[in-house]
Amino acid sequence: MRAALAVARKELLVYFTTPLAWVLLMVVAFFSAQFFNGALDAYRFVALRAVELQSPQVLDRLDLTELVVGRLLGSVAVFLVIAAPFLSMRLWAEEKRARTFELLMTAPVRPLQLVLGKYLAALAMVAACLAVVALFPLLLSFFARGAAGGSAVEWRTVATGLLGLFLLGAMAMAVGMFVSALTESVVVAALVSLLLLLGLWVITILTIGVDGPLRDLAAALSAAEHLGGFLAGRIELKDVVYYLSFVVLGLYLTERAIEGRRWA
């Protein structure tokens, strides 16, 4: 376990001493702010229209958490799928390119420990991105007051939404790490994992206009479909299992790919 922590520490040190982590966090902050502003504007527009039309039913149904935070998190999800490959790309490919892979492989350490260490660092990066995103609901809660005088932000829904995003990020990192273990080129690693993840994200468009089992299959495979529950405040077992199976599969295949180097 100590070796795994040493690897995680080293990875985080590299992420934060090179511009990579800072650029990414800046980009996350910028886009989250744009999404947040957009969602807030849309909310204000709908609210003003409801007041104009004097329809209290609509006003009652307007939910700040759902309309603003839910939209923000939904938009951030796509962004996460696109950004994760650029974080995971260097995990192994960079070691091979810089010849430090030889150092890792000749250290008295099991490949699994190296894999876990790197993955831990990747999860920490996902958490750091989500921490930036979480600032926006926090900001909202300072200014928005609910009807009962309490906070207008339902923190439980926000929390499940963030949990969903974290699981999505964990899945993306596991897939990306496996791809990175297969190549020496960080560019190839980024592009291939981007292709895989975007494919899983938009897989349902293949079955537009199709009914029956094929459509169900596409929906079951889609990374986007499984996020809906979390964003609506529900933690469903099938969704958790979906993301975690990618994580386990990704970790297992990466370990095999690294261990396989010892055999050929």
Binding site: A98, L103, T106, P108, V109
Partner: protein, 254 residues
Amino acid sequence: MIEVSHLTKRYRDLVAVDDLSFTVGKGEVVGFLGPNGAGKSTTMRILAGFLPATSGSVQVAGFDVFESPREVKRRVGYLPEHPPVYDALTVRACLRFCADLKGLPRQTIGSEIDRVAALAGVAGVMGRVAGNLSKGFKQRLGLAQALLGDPEVLVLDEPTVGLDPLQIREVRDLVRSLAGRHTVILSTHILPEVAMTCQKVLVVNQGRLVDFDTVEGLIARHLPGRRVTLDDIAFLEEIYGKLVTAPAAGPGPA
């Protein structure tokens, strides 16, 4: 300490190492000589457990490299052909990471890092980012990393590449000081280095062993009747030339 028997490594149809067998005793310093592409680096990578052998076996301190890799890796300090350096980290952080990977006891890590840094001559650049170091310093950082934890066996692939003449002498002195307590196998193109630091010389050509003997033994066999002193290096060039230009007809009479 190191037992290599019938080691063969093939990359598809290229035979990099061909039925190589030799034994290195405890405390010996062995120089590994051969032209480019003779299979030196491949052999060293197999010794360090980075590459698997196609056939044959390698034992270090009684452990098979393939069967119990971690036992072997714990006992081997390895300097690869390209010094493994994390460009983004400082020298100290690099060494710290290697020490953690090797599982050195926590209490002594700081003093151990300072010890190897002093030995390898990187003590003055501990705070610098490794990516900005010159080739020579990177090489010495690689050497420091191999020395971490005071391993019984050192496998050094061209340890003096990129160093200036004075540094080469320092490394030579360092290797000599390791003899006795440590088993060292080092590859090099620089013949004087072998004569000055190694007790035994292992010459390979096209993946095959052409001779393996002490420096004195080589002189006696290949330059019979010639009186040479170890300060006079030309004799080694002559022997080396004889060995590697002759068709690789199989292991010599070692």
